[in-house]
Symmetry: C2
Subunit: 219 residues, 2 copies
């Protein structure tokens, strides 16, 4: 192939979500360079062909460099492309998303979290990326163990119910939620462990071993 | 940005499926240039930044040029990338897939169809792309109207049931298939139209208007 063949710019962008004050929030960082210098944007950057094994490795490097922690996992969302999405030229952005525990944020000096209903205006086509990520997250959360990873190692059914509602952004009937979750085998009761509170003692649960193993294989 | 910054190669690859002789088949074309000259491979090609509006437009151009017909629609599958997947260098391939009516193939002089269980060895990482496409197709087909687009404008419930089974590659209980399809509102009965055969007359159906409209919006 003719090496002078014009090539697109290739970058990665990441949509990282967490739950803060019971609301689904998105992490943004301030851009340090033009275009859109000093604007809040999705953490992103160019692929470094001499350094990154693939675009997922590039996304991990970007998250670590711009936010300051290792993302526990990243899922590929969609690839956005075209002549007009970036003023620097024809570009391809491979977008990734993740749902991360709020505790990880303590390690970040640079990320700012915004509730998804109250995001600032975003540069490039980042609003499209965010809309797609929220759609995927909510579609996926309803039938996956994803939101459960936001909780500590043991939790009650009420706590699990609440974190799913917060992620998905809709009310879920408690009885059918409980039935569905137990049927899917995502969680196991911790034998003889209960949370003592104002009400009657609540059974504690943890993620099922097969879910944790599958998750660790992904990391 | 420094224009001498090395940029990855950017290409598109397409996994086009159809049903032939009641089997799910994949279209392959012979490569005309190195690497892997004369090998059968997924139809693909480089993004042309001076010509393509985005990677989907590039995929449409490639399908039209390499196979000879306009794809009725293409869905983005996944983006494959890395230093080693293409001997020409660090590359990104945005992969697309579609399920196309066999009648479209009459217009192609160049495509060869292979049952998905009997594919030849494929170059690059095309086997990974194909595996992912089959997984997505089968996962999606079970709850979408996708396979129905392979049928003519009117069809019986038995014909619809068969095309879903062929796409998904598993047996589907007839009664619960019928119940599910009617519940989803994907199809409507054609008033007073029946197929007369060896058995009792079978009601004819067509795709519901809302499904057709959504599909046309996508094209």
């Amino acid at each position: 192939m003719d090496p002078s063949f014009p090539r697109p710019l290739v970058m990665v962008d990441t949509a990282l979500f967490t739950i803060l004050d019971e609301r689904l929030c998105l992490l943004l960082t301030q851009r340090k360079e033009p275009p859109f210098e000093r604007k809040l944007a999705l953490p992103g950057g160019f692929v470094h062909v001499d350094e990154d094994a693939d675009t997922e490795a590039a996304a991990r490097r970007v998250v670590c460099g711009k936010i300051g922690f290792d993302a526990p996992y990243l899922e590929q969302l969609f690839t956005f492309s075209g002549a007009t999405r970036d003023p620097r030229g024809w570009s391809v952005s491979v977008a990734y998303y993740a749902l991360i525990p709020a505790s990880l944020l303590d390690r970040s000096q640079t990320a700012e979290a915004f509730p998804v209903e109250a995001l600032p205006a975003l540069p490039f086509d980042h609003d499209r990326i965010v809309a797609k990520a929220i759609e995927r997250l909510r579609g996926k959360a309803t039938y996956s163990s994803l939101p459960a990873f936001l909780l500590p190692a043991t939790f009650t059914m009420n706590e699990l119910h609440r974190i799913y509602e917060q992620t998905i952004g809709v009310r879920l009937d408690k009885a059918s939620f409980r039935h569905k979750i137990l049927e899917q085998g995502i969680i196991d009761p911790v034998p003889s462990q209960f949370r003592i509170g104002a009400h009657r003692p609540a059974q504690l649960y943890r993620l099922a071993n097969r879910v944790l193993t599958a998750f660790e294989r992904k990391i």
